[in-house]
């Protein structure tokens, strides 16, 4: 109980810190200047419907906008839409769109443009990875220039939350039609910044869009620079060649806090880090072995060492700030129970359980070090894990193989529930319809009861009923030990003291929309 209180207090404090930094500054903002943001990876594509990673989302969200947005506090609020109504049967959604909005190329944003975008995502030929977010939508109609109507094949509770996903951004139909495949290199949206250039592997530059419909940006320009190594990125920030550095190594926080510039901020994140087991293949088709590993790994020690206490040990498959979260009983560190489960399954120190453990390097905070910690902790109970790592693109492709070709035994991954709604975090990862190559259930988990609960929660509108369904589904998932549950990350960002008004969104986005540089 005491520990729970400490954890809660930490969360409250860190989020409070995050918001206070974003609050209105005392001095009047100055206009102009270039903000340089150091990121870990380059953009994968600049087509707002085709990317899957949050570093690209950070860039895109300066240029494109969605019908709804998730505020940093976790509220779904209108952006390019103004309001919506739902028919009594819960299947027809009518949206009133914001008038007098133009894309950067002068095209008018209206219901026809919105329909074009949603149809493009829904069209299987586009191969939009986030199609599943709106795959219940069967009909998109532009009623008049500011009225859009969506019809779903069943009541679909998370629709508004899903429309906040930046993978459903509104992009200029004229530009998409005119440029074809080249569009992915010169995106056109409605956001406060417009695209200027993309130097592959080095930087993406956006400049202020002066005809923006809303509150105009203060900065002239934002540059997103690629510096893959966490240490090198921090060094560049300290040397003053960056204004913002994402993913500061947590163990450096204490040292940085001793100085005045740069400032370290810790913001909440919607990302959960886990190790998924392929439950259809030996050895981890045996639930006892999955549970044994859960007992063998001291997650608290990992969080305290590699992450310097900035993360929160998982007590559910989703992060606590996701709508639908409730804590479920998971596995406390208990090497005796791990050993007895291993014995039951026929393993011992003399005949150790051997498995190959795939993990990424440099994608999540201290991922390789965490993998090595897991290896070391598993070794104590007589589980021999062989570590394998790959470049992230190749790694993702490997985990996405269909079942017959997928011989991965266990792999580490992170999932940011960026819509802030449990459906996105649970349906995509645990529903049996989401096995690769279609979806993200890459451990091939299948539990009929869980499927049923996730399906029902999708079409239930009452939030408290949904929460109960999710709670039961998560309890079953934990009981099945579908994952080795690890932690939910916090974002550790280094910022130069001159930077004001910067928002670090829990969806892992650095937002410079209203940022400015103090002179």
């Amino acid at each position: 109980m005491h520990r729970l209180l400490v954890v809660l207090a930490t969360i409250v404090l860190t989020s409070a810190l995050g918001f206070s930094a974003a609050a209105a500054p005392a001095v009047a903002p100055t206009r102009g200047g270039t903000l340089i943001v150091g990121s870990g990876t380059d953009a994968t594509t600049l087509d707002g419907h085709l990317y899957t990673d949050s570093p690209t989302a950070t860039i895109m969200e300066h240029m494109t906008e969605t019908l709804y947005e998730l505020s940093p506090e976790g509220r779904v609020q209108p952006r390019l839409a103004l309001s919506h109504t739902v028919s009594p049967d819960g299947r027809t959604w009518t949206f009133r769109l914001r008038p007098n909005v133009r894309f950067h190329d002068g095209t008018t944003f209206d219901a026809a443009a919105a329909k074009f975008n949603l149809d493009r995502v829904l069209n299987p030929a586009t191969r939009a990875p986030w199609r599943f977010l709106i795959d219940r939508v069967t009909e998109v109609t532009a009623v008049d220039s500011t009225t859009l109507r969506l019809v779903t094949n069943a009541p679909f509770a998370p629709l508004l939350a899903h429309l906040t996903h930046s993978g459903l951004a509104m992009q200029s139909p004229t530009a998409i039609q005119r440029l074809g495949a080249d569009y992915a290199r010169q995106p056109v949206g409605t956001g406060p910044f417009r695209f200027r250039e993309w130097v592959r592997g080095d930087r993406v530059v956006v400049t202020r869009f002066d005809d923006y419909w809303g509150e105009k940006a203060l900065l002239d320009e934002v540059q997103f620079r690629v510096i893959p190594d966490d240490g090198a990125r921090l060094a560049a920030l300290e040397a003053g060649s960056l204004h913002v550095a994402v993913r500061v190594p947590p163990r450096e926080i204490e040292r940085l806090r001793a100085g005045r510039d740069p400032i370290v901020r810790i913001d909440t994140s919607l990302r959960t880090i886990f190790v998924a087991f392929n439950v259809t293949r030996p050895p981890f088709s045996d639930r006892r072995l999955r549970q044994a590993l859960n007992y063998a790994v001291n997650k608290r020690a990992i969080v305290q060492s590699a992450l310097a206490g900035t993360a929160r040990v998982s007590d559910a498959p989703i992060a606590p700030n996701v709508q639908g979260y409730s804590p479920v009983p998971v596995y406390d560190w208990d090497t005796d129970r791990a050993a007895s489960l291993l014995r039951e399954a026929g393993y011992s120190r003399e005949r150790p359980l051997r498995a190959v453990f795939h993990h990424p390097t440099g994608r999540y905070i201290r991922d390789a070090e965490i993998a090595a910690s897991i290896q070391g902790l598993a070794r104590r109970v007589g589980i021999e894990l062989e570590l394998r790592t790959l470049e992230f693109g190749a790694y993702i492709a490997l985990t996405a193989r269909p079942r017959e070709q997928n011989d991965i035994q266990m792999y580490m991954l992170g999932w940011g529930t960026v819509t802030g709604d449990a459906d996105y975090g649970l349906y995509a990862l645990f529903h049996s319809s989401q096995w690769p190559p279609v979806g993200f259930n890459r451990g091939f988990y299948k539990n009929d009861r869980v499927d049923q609960l996730l399906d029902r929660a999708r079409v239930t509108v009452d939030q408290s009923q949904r929460n109960q369904m999710y709670a039961e589904a998560m309890r079953l998932i934990a009981e099945d030990a579908a994952w080795l549950f690890l932690h939910s990350e916090s974002q550790v960002t280094g910022v130069r003291a001159a930077v004001q008004g910067l928002i670090v969104h829990p969806g892992e986005r650095v937002m410079a929309h209203q940022a400015w540089l103090r002179r």
Partner: protein, 296 residues
């Protein structure tokens, strides 16, 4: 029959005899640097061979609560990012590094020497083709070629030994070819040929034994660069995989924490530096000892 015996004695006379080895040792002893190098190598060799006895802790036992702690409390060199004892890991690392170095060089010599000998002895088209192939290999910087080879062979310790070994093939091939080119013009080779010895016999019995001295010198220096290449591959994550106590990968894992825990980077770095230095000092001294012009 009689003449063939005579021919081989001619060649044997040019092979280093026991008294010659003594002469070389006497010469080597005069080099202070060489002796320093030799003692460094002996220390690491002993550490490597006796690792299970010498290492104070299990090099793989992690202790997350004590991660990155500096020297002290029974851990003479401190602990790494997972709380493992650094001294024990460096001692076990000596074993790995020396094995990698020696095996890689053995692979290089095993292929490079015959290729060079054949190429030099046979001459003509064989020489032309092998030498162009070797030119191609030499055109790549060694570490780049090793990375390409690891990419083809896959990541791991054995693969690193093979890759670094392949990289040193052209070095041996060039060196031996040069030696053979000058040796094959010598009278004792003509004599052997006149007596009807086969090419294989001439190369094996008469020519190669005379290149042993240069091969030894080259190998001592080559072990140093093989250890360095293997450490570089380990640093890039292409060599020994965790939890192996390989110096290069220890450096790589600890470099994030260079400012927080300088000891975790310094000691593996020192270990690499000292071993490479040791081999280089010994190599230089051996070369001097074997060089007739240096003999007083």
């Amino acid at each position: 029959m009689l003449s063939s015996i005579r021919a081989s004695t001619t060649a044997e006379a040019r092979r280093p005899s026991r008294s010659r080895w003594r002469l070389i040792w006497n010469q080597f002893r005069r080099s202070r640097a060489g002796l320093v190098g030799l003692s460094i190598l002996l220390v690491f060799l002993l550490a490597g061979v006796l690792a299970p006895i010498l290492a104070p802790y299990d090099p793989y036992e992690i202790d997350l609560e004590a991660s990155l702690r500096g020297p002290g409390g029974g851990h003479w060199l401190g602990r790494d990012e997972l709380g493992r004892d650094l001294l024990s890991r460096i001692i076990y690392g000596a074993r790995l590094s020396l094995v990698i170095g020696v095996i890689a060089v053995a692979i290089g010599a095993a292929f490079g020497v015959p290729v060079g000998a054949l190429s030099g002895y046979l001459g003509g088209r064989v020489d032309l083709f092998t030498q162009r192939a070797i030119d191609v290999m030499l055109a790549f910087p060694g570490i780049l070629l090793a990375i390409v080879l690891v990419a083809i062979l896959g990541v791991g310790l054995v693969q690193v030994m093979v890759a670094v070994g392949i990289v040193s093939i052209p070095v041996y091939a060039r060196l031996v070819r040069g030696q053979v080119l000058s040796l094959r013009e010598q009278e004792f080779v003509d004599a052997a040929r006149a007596l009807g010895a086969t090419d294989t016999r001439i190369i094996w019995r008469h020519v190669l034994p005379n290149t042993v001295a240069v091969i030894i010198v080259q190998s001592t220096l080559q072990v140093a660069s093989a250890i360095l290449s293997a450490a570089a591959l380990g640093f890039l994550g292409l060599g020994a995989q965790p939890p192996a106590a390989e110096w290069g990968s220890m450096l790589s894992n600890a470099r994030q924490y260079i400012r927080l825990a300088p000891h975790s980077v310094t000691f593996p770095g020192l270990a690499i530096m000292l071993t490479v230095l040791g081999f280089n000092l010994v190599g230089d001294a051996v070369r001097d000892a074997l060089d007739p012009r240096m003999r007083l």
